[in-house]
């Protein structure tokens, strides 16, 4: 095969400083420079390679920018062919590393090039792309391999070569229709488990036995298609076994005595859904039934909200994992017939400054994980045209082996526009991307722990996304919805077609032909087609009469659609390949055959004799100055500005972002939550708020307190920007370790109990949730982490509030009681103190939030900021820096008499607290509205460019705005 190779580089040899800097961090300090060249490989399906005129055309129109680029066309392989070193010179040494995608990973640029060539009249062109890195420096072969492996190439999706790389043009393998029979009869428990392990099924002994006896009863062996289908459908990821399990829960005192014993019949039913039923809010449209939770927005529209995690894939391929995380959650929104309108993301990473020698084998460095995840989120969200408006980034050594990536999406749908009942005879239509071997076993893989070998074993479970194909799905489904062309819709997520079609056809049964599935390349066996988790696909139930209209829309929006079969009505799942049955299962066994898992959970109360604040302070050499502590907190990576991350996300697209991630005259102060106004609803003043609550530090101390605090934080953040506390819905996302260990599960039970108690107290429904378990690396679990996301209605977008101080001379009030609650606080982390009482549920929180909201609606609140990590001190500093104004406060006013040490009012993280700015003229009216609420006037906004803190008129410290700014903005790493 003749191949042409076109090398396109920036004429001025643009330096990749990022790579030289990262190499230095890796300990390779001899890399002097690095520049990139884009490589395009061309060949032809006909025997004729494109001639010079065609190549000139391709370069002029598609490949080479005449202002910035230079290009060179060579025949492949280029000569001289050397491995590693090219043109060795006397003084400097030059090397080349070339990186290309692995076979089966979609090369989007190559596909665009092929289509563009066709438009230029160059037919039959086949393309592939690669990237060349030119390196200079005294580098050994070992250095080059390390640079390639640790920086330039991710083995999961890419391959590299020192010197010229061989391009791969699509797949050469032939179609395989092989279906295996897997005998289970007579296998022992150990042999059954071996079978589960070897095929990556993640089924336990009891589940394998259930399958064994089913096939013994019907008298035949399962096919690989059937076994894989059962494993997917019964996976933790798809059915949430742990949240549905019967749990024997024992709570013990610190001394080990049993305090209570409970039989819990499902965490989901018993706590999460129970709270939703108990609060019974009339504006909830759908909770825990559809792919996303839905609440009422206005007379015409509803809002859908869903948050997913994509932790395991992001650990292996950070860009692709986060990329497809956004893609997946956006499809959940499309799957409730809504138009996606916004994204959120919350990220938890290991320490960025970890020395590379301390990095356990088999892991990517946390800095590389962060860089890839952030780029992956931006790439997908930006290209879909969705504003990424709310989030958080948390750094903790507990996330070294398992980073967490929470991706959220919001959608808008006209009331009554989401059909959910497929009809007998409806066609099963798949839309969107083609099916490849990508993402096989994603569902079962995410239900297993990571080990240092996972990287090589589970490569196929990780994918990179194609946001432009997904964009087509958004447009096509919206158009099809408005013409009412389908009776049901779902997305192809974990488990691929097997889950999507299996769930949709649960009541009716389905008949499907796998040979009709559009493939990226030949060579997939039937079970691979059925299980593939290739991205950007949806499934619709379409009445046959509507197919032509759907096809017409699909052609317009350039989305591929294919009719795969029908909803049969006989209650069976029948899968065919080329007319031959490859799976025949009753839907009843698939969906109801899974035995209810039995689990044991233990929870032990914290030790009562943990050191108190007093003993800790007596034992430290010199007590840290409150001022120094505040500076350290502001520069702590979890608190410090995330501007360099957030500005790589488009938060303005769709023109409806009213409260942004950064606020104030310099647009750099932190925001509590986002407020959005959807396009198409500008005829009234309603908008909505998105916020989050998360505190894993507290979770290490007490998971019940973490849950209560996360609900309060999400809630108060939404209230801070103007949401009505009586119209806030929440979502839960649990990320936990292996729940088959009773201690991990015990902490999870306590977190669920906290969720229930808080939701009922705040009168807020859970409308959706998701769990990601088995987040362990080599037996080490992550800190149990609960994210609460809130969606609140903002009744009047003209009455929103931001956190930056507005005007010197105004009063500063604190709402809520400050208690000595330093357990699990940032303060205790800095002092390396594991004692202290964790924050509790505030008294009647809803009353105070209603009062604050009433004051905002009356236009009396000039600024508002919630108190979270770092307490009052951090919140006040953030309000000052956002507004470039000073403040003089006396925290004696907020200080209950028993709070002896100034650390407590400054740094306690008690829930239910907000700082409010009110003008002197509005003070009386404001205090009147707040009359029954714990409230204290603590100080004044000043134009002194300084925070001055006193207790009972005794000055404690001053801190200038410059110092605050450099601590808060300076700490962020690029």
């Amino acid at each position: 095969m003749k191949i042409l190779r076109i090398e396109v580089a920036n004429r001025h040899g643009q330096e990749e400083h990022r790579i030289t800097a990262a190499a230095y961090r890796l300990g390779i300090d001899s890399l002097r420079s690095c520049s990139r060249t884009n490589l395009y490989f061309l060949t032809s399906l006909s025997s004729q390679l494109p001639g010079p005129a065609h190549i000139e055309k391709l370069c002029a129109f598609l490949l080479v920018d005449p202002v910035t680029d230079s290009a060179r066309v060579v025949s492949h392989p280029p000569t001289p062919r050397v491995s590693g070193a090219v043109q060795p010179q006397a003084e400097t040494t030059n090397y080349v590393i070339e990186v290309a995608l692995r076979q089966g990973v979609t090369d989007v640029a190559a596909r665009v090039l092929e289509r563009g060539a066709a438009e230029l009249g160059i037919d039959h062109l086949v393309a592939a792309t690669a990237t060349q890195y030119r390196l200079t420096g005294e580098l050994s072969q070992d250095d080059l391999h390390r640079l390639a492996q640790d920086l330039l190439c991710n083995d999961t999706i890419e391959r590299y070569s020192l010197g010229a790389i061989e391009p791969l043009f699509g797949h050469s393998s032939v179609a395989r229709d092989h279906v295996e029979q897997i005998p289970l009869t007579g296998l022992t428990e150990e042999e059954l488990l071996d079978c589960s392990r070897n095929r990556l099924l993640s089924l336990d002994a009891e589940e394998m036995r259930e399958i064994q006896s089913f096939y013994d009863e019907i008298g035949r062996h399962p096919t690989d298609v059937e076994l894989e289908t059962l494993a997917q459908t019964w996976s933790e990821h798809c059915v949430h076994k742990t949240f549905k399990a019967d749990i024997a829960f024992t709570r013990r005192s610190a001394g080990g005595e049993a305090i209570s014993f409970d039989e819990i019949q499902g965490l989901l039913r018993n706590y999460i859904q129970a709270a939703t039923q108990k609060v019974n809010r009339p504006w909830v449209r759908s909770a825990f039934v559809d792919d996303a939770g839905i609440i009422e927005f206005d007379d015409q529209f509803d809002l859908a909200f869903k948050v997913e995690t994509h932790n395991h894939p992001s650990a292996l391929e950070p860009f692709g994992g986060a990329n497809t995380g956004i893609g997946g959650v956006v499809r959940d929104i499309i799957a409730v017939s809504a138009r996606p309108i916004a994204c959120t993301d919350v990220l938890c990473f290991g320490p960025q400054d970890l020395p590379s020698r301390e990095l356990p084998s088999g892991l990517l460095h946390p800095a590389r994980v962060k860089e890839g995840v952030v780029a992956g989120i931006g790439d997908y969200g930006n290209k879909l045209g969705l504003p990424t408006v709310n989030g958080a980034v948390i750094y903790d050594s507990g996330y070294l082996g398992n980073p967490l990536v929470f991706c959220g999406a919001v959608g808008l749908l006209p009331k009554g526009s989401h059909p959910t009942q497929p009809q007998q005879g409806d066609r099963i239509v798949v839309l969107g991307g083609r099916t490849g071997r990508d993402g096989i076993h994603g569902a079962t893989f995410s239900s297993a722990e990571l080990t240092q070998d996972t990287h090589s074993e589970s490569g196929s479970a990780v994918q990179i996304g194609d946001p432009i194909t997904e964009k087509g799905l958004i447009e096509l489904v919206e158009a099809a919805r408005d013409k009412r062309l389908y009776n049901a819709i779902t997305d192809c997520g974990a488990g691929g077609l097997s889950s999507a079609v299996g769930e949709m056809g649960e009541a009716l049964g389905v008949d499907i032909e796998l040979q009709d599935v559009p493939l990226k390349y030949p060579g997939l066996t039937p079970w691979e087609i059925w299980l593939s988790e290739a991205q950007e696909r949806m499934v619709l139930a379409v009445p046959p009469a509507h197919l032509p209209q759907l096809q017409e829309l699909a052609d317009l929006w350039e989305v591929e659609i294919r009719d795969l079969g029908r909803f049969s009505g006989d209650g069976w799942l029948r899968v065919h390949y080329d007319g031959r049955a490859v799976a025949e299962l009753p839907m009843s066994f698939l969906h109801d055959g899974l035995p209810i898992p039995q689990r044991t959970a233990h929870y032990r109360e914290p030790e009562p004799d943990l050191p108190t604040l007093q003993t800790v302070l007596e034992n430290v050499h010199s007590q840290p100055e409150p001022r120094d502590l505040l500076v350290r907190m502001l520069s702590h990576p979890t608190i410090a500005s995330k501007e360099r991350i957030v500005r790589t996300y488009d938060h303005e697209v769709r023109g409806g972002t009213l409260v942004r991630p950064f606020v104030g005259p310099h647009m750099d102060g932190p925001s509590d939550a986002a407020v959005l106004k959807p396009i198409g609803t500008w005829d009234h003043h309603r908008a909505f708020a998105l916020s989050a609550g998360i505190n894993p530090l507290l979770g290490k101390r007490d998971s019940y307190a973490m849950a209560v605090s996360a609900v309060d934080e999400a809630f108060r953040n939404a209230v801070s920007v103007g949401a009505d506390p009586d119209q806030i819905a929440i979502l839960d996302n649990f990320c936990w370790g292996n729940p088959t260990f009773p201690d991990r599960l015990g902490a999870l039970v306590r977190a669920c109990q906290g969720c229930y108690d808080a939701a009922v107290t705040y009168n807020t429904p859970f409308i959706s949730g998701k769990d990601s378990l088995y987040n362990e690396f080599e037996g080490q679990p992550i800190p149990g982490t609960l994210l609460i996301s809130a969606l609140g209605i903002v009744p009047d977008m003209r009455r929103t509030c931001t956190s930056n101080l507005k005007q010197s001379g105004n009063h500063i009030f604190i709402v809520g009681e400050t208690c000595e609650e330093l357990g699990g606080s940032l303060f205790s982390q800095l002092l390396q103190w594991d004692g202290g009482d964790p924050p509790t549920m505030p008294a009647e929180p809803l009353m105070r939030y209603r009062a604050v909201h009433a004051a905002m609606q009356a236009g009396l609140v000039r600024s508002c900021h919630d108190l979270s990590e770092g307490g009052l001190a951090v919140a006040l500093a953030e309000m000052c820096l956002g507004g470039r104004l000073g403040a003089a406060v006396d925290i004696g006013a907020a200080n209950e008499s028993h709070l002896t040490h100034p650390y407590v009012p400054l740094f306690s993280e008690s829930n239910g607290r907000l700082l409010l700015e009110v003008t002197p003229a509005d003070r009386a009216t404001f205090e009147d509205i707040m009359s029954d609420i714990p409230l204290a006037l603590i100080g004044t906004v000043t134009d002194s460019q300084m925070i001055s803190v006193a207790i009972d008129r005794q000055p404690i410290f001053d801190l200038s705005l410059d110092e605050i700014l450099s601590a808060w903005k300076g700490a962020e790493t690029a």
């Binding site: 596909r111 052609d555 317009l556 929006w557």
Partner: protein, 269 residues
Amino acid sequence: MAMNLPVLILHATGTNRDAEAARACELAGASPQIVHINQLRRGVRRFSEFGMLVLPGGFSYGDALGAGVRQALDLQVFFHEELTHFIATGKPVLGICNGFQTLVKAGLLPGYADDGESPSAIQQSVSRRDVTLTHNARNCFECRWVHLAVEQGTRAGCLAQLVEPVFCPVAHGEGNFQVSSRDTLERLEKDGLVAFRYVDSDGVPAAGRYPLNPNGSVADIAGICNRAGNVIGLMPHPEDHVDPIQNPLGGSEGLGLSLFRAMIGIASD
């Protein structure tokens, strides 16, 4: 009457700020319609039905071969004559962000160097192109609000009615305006082909200072126009500031809506 001016909002696969562009046109008194490029290719809709063309922001075809490159190819291959005619009749064309990148890469901005071009010479003119929009100096996508001043003496005469700097967001990774030589820059300036430059809130030139000039563009150039002044392209998004409530600093100044009013104005004259 401006009320009836039909505006074509061009949607190619991957376009995403079309709905906001449509809203801006509507608020400015026109009747926008979002039309898919495939409808134009099939002849179901035609450019000639419209009095103004907007190429909105987004990532056409994923920008997989560089921002706007594939969409520019579509314009050249399928619509060259129609578009040339549209522009020659003086109808306004506005390219925002990805639309601007597309117009530049298709050779429509700042326009073919002299008047002697013929349709058959497209390819030549494409490779003769001496301005471009390339990767931001900081080499990443960036979203932030910027101030834009209308260039004194620009050939886009309709912009003279914009009395104050426009305040609106940028959101792009490839908005760094560059030229092939100092001569090119001098010619652009001398010929009045610069339309907008990045400035601070008082209208003082950014002079390359980040983040006032967010992407490293040469001479702070944020937008340019053609010789006739009816084709205008810019990187920032005036369509995202059409209502004072969108202003992150409060106040009612700097509405991007004024740009839409001005351009719809020339079409309606």
